[in-house]
């Protein structure tokens, strides 16, 4: 069973064949985006003979929906993702700590609310939330978008933190407590550094969700200069339909940061995703 036989080699080859449909579409993106206009019209499978960045730079300076450039959308995505992740960690970590350490009925009720939030789709609340954002003059702003993501991802972040804190023995905190340290100090200097692994998981998962999200961004900042990358790609495709070299250049801009990140951190990312399944 654990020997490497001819059958294993055969299966290994089979899986690499199965991997072709996974890698081929990504090849098309890169090949088409880097193909100069002079080589257009030929087979899609042919690699670019003289790769060029002219499509990429054209897409880069083109406005997505007439209001934001790809450079701008890239900044919007990066800024929104970074702020959401930072605030999520700052708010969810202490909350998860309380829920895990206080076994009272009230914390049970709070945990129930977050569990409900885990399965509640955004669609139901999105219209009242949009109306509220319009009222508060936050619709179409980065601040508004960040607030929506915060509310939406808080249940997941708290769920992950609470599960992790529950498995963390309270011995260190109790020692510090006997020494007279304040709860805030205990949390900041002792507890928070101990849960770094789960902070990484929260950052990766929630960061990817925000970076890749289309629906919420479309509703709250669509058509403004605060659009994130997926919405910019969407309106870009609307304007340049079937101009695949340009569209794929924009897809490349949107994917590349995630792919580079995944390339360096594959194990961590995959572990993060399996982590959500426990608890």
């Amino acid at each position: 069973m654990s020997r490497y036989t001819r059958w294993s080699a055969f299966r290994e080859a089979g899986f690499w064949v199965a991997a072709i449909p996974i890698l081929l579409p990504l090849y098309f993106v890169v090949a088409t985006a880097l193909k100069p206009a002079s080589e257009g019209g030929g087979s899609y499978f042919k690699p670019p003979l003289h790769p060029t960045f002219e499509n990429v730079s054209q897409a880069w300076s083109q406005a997505g929906s007439g209001t934001v450039s790809f450079a701008g959308a890239l900044f919007n995505s990066a800024f929104t993702t970074a702020v959401v992740v930072a605030l999520l960690i700052a708010l969810a970590a202490p909350a998860g700590y309380v829920l895990a350490r206080r076994g009272s009925k009230l914390s049970g009720a709070a945990f129930g609310m977050f569990a409900l939030g885990l399965i509640l789709p955004v669609q139901l609340g999105i219209i009242p939330l949009y109306a509220f954002m319009v009222e508060a003059e936050l619709a179409g702003t980065r601040e508004g978008l960040i607030l929506v993501y915060l509310g939406m991802l808080m249940p997941l972040a708290i769920f992950l933190y609470t599960g992790f804190f529950r498995s963390l023995p309270p011995a260190y905190e109790e020692a510090a407590r006997v020494d007279g340290a304040s709860p805030t100090r205990i949390f900041v200097t002792i507890v928070f550094p101990l849960v770094r692994p789960i902070t990484g998981v929260v950052a990766i998962l929630c960061g990817l969700i925000v970076w890749n999200d289309f629906f919420v961004s479309l509703v709250f900042v669509g058509g403004t200069d605060k659009e994130t990358l997926p919405v910019a790609v969407y309106s870009f495709v609307g304007r340049f339909s079937a101009q695949w070299p340009l569209i794929f250049a924009s897809a490349l801009i949107a994917m590349l940061p995630v792919l580079v990140f995944y390339g360096f951190m594959q194990r961590t990312v995959m572990r993060g995703f399996s982590n959500t399944l426990r608890g």
Partner: protein, 308 residues
């Protein structure tokens, strides 16, 4: 805690005041997170559930309609189509993505030398934006796209199809793209489950003369049940809420053939301005998702009871 109690008893007053305030984690720590989650997520959802019973259009003040929105949804043929497409996508996606995910997990579990890198490759589509993935596939599936070109090149020109231009094919294409993107994620779920199926157990069965299929059916599969429960529940929820892929691949077309609950809710609200009606459909969606989640929790609890 016991030690603190003795100190307090030994030196009442000052020591008590010094120790007492730090005895527990203060509730204050949870207040900002609870406020954000409640105010920006739960409360709007509750309002949404309320608007489901009104004719709110976002401009004039809403009028109470009772269950009229719901009877409209179940009474007209357009929304019946939408519901049917969502269920068709759901069944095809849940079966497909779980079979592929399970196959990848089981196949990559044992002795293969490059299984680490293969897992990385198969999971890769899951980290890309679903919208971008859908546009890549729109190019592949185009009538003049890469798939038809490849079919013609290998002499199978007769199989060339307008993949996104014909109702049944378009629906199948949406499902195929979803499976392409998320099979690797479900592979991860099953791989995690397989790790808990002890290798010794299967090796012992092999020594006892059980063939590969019997080992899979009688040992691996029953022990994979928890992973399967989670995987099926997650894929069901994903398919109920599908939006990005449909909007990007077909926009709901051709002729409404791929309209789903997710796109219907969006269009009713943001294209037709029928917020109340849209909210009632969203509420039905939530009820569907909750039913799936409840069944999942019940099955998991049964598993825990068995294990305990």
């Amino acid at each position: 805690m016991a030690a603190v109690g003795t100190t307090a008893a030994g030196r009442p007053g000052r020591a008590w005041r010094r120790v007492r305030p730090v005895r527990r984690v203060p509730w204050l720590f949870a207040v900002p997170a609870v406020a954000v989650c409640f105010g920006l997520f739960i409360l709007p959802a509750l309002f949404g559930a309320g608007y489901a019973f009104t004719n709110w259009d976002g401009l004039t003040s809403p009028k109470w309609l009772g269950f009229a929105n719901f009877s409209e949804f179940f009474g007209n043929s357009e929304s019946a189509e939408v519901l049917l497409h969502t269920l068709e996508i759901g069944v095809a996606y849940v079966v497909g993505v779980n079979l592929v995910g399970l196959g990848l997990a089981v196949g990559l579990e044992s002795t293969l030398k490059s299984r680490g890198i293969l897992r990385v490759v198969f999971f890769l589509p899951a980290v890309i934006s679903p919208l971008v993935v859908a546009f890549i596939w729109k190019f592949m599936l185009d009538a003049n796209g890469a798939i038809n070109e490849a079919l013609a090149a290998i002499g199978l020109g007769s199989l060339e199809k307008p993949w996104l231009g014909e109702p049944t094919l378009a629906l199948a294409s949406v499902v195929a793209v979803m499976i392409w993107q998320f099979a690797g994620y479900h592979m991860l779920i099953y791989s995690a489950g397989l790790q808990s199926v002890q290798r010794e157990l299967r090796e012992a069965a092999a020594v006892d003369g059980a063939g590969p299929w019997r080992r899979f059916r009688d040992i691996t599969l029953p022990l994979l049940r928890p992973a399967m429960t989670i995987s099926i529940a997650l894929s069901t929820i994903t398919s109920f809420m599908v939006f990005d892929q449909v909007i990007a691949l077909t926009g709901g077309g051709p002729a409404g053939a791929t309209e789903t609950l997710g796109t219907y809710v969006y269009k009713q609200a943001f294209v037709n301005g029928r917020y109340g009606y849209s909210a009632s459909v969203a509420l039905l969606l939530v009820i569907g998702v909750c039913c799936v989640a409840i069944v999942q929790f019940r099955l998991l609890r049964n598993r825990d009871a068995e294990a305990g």
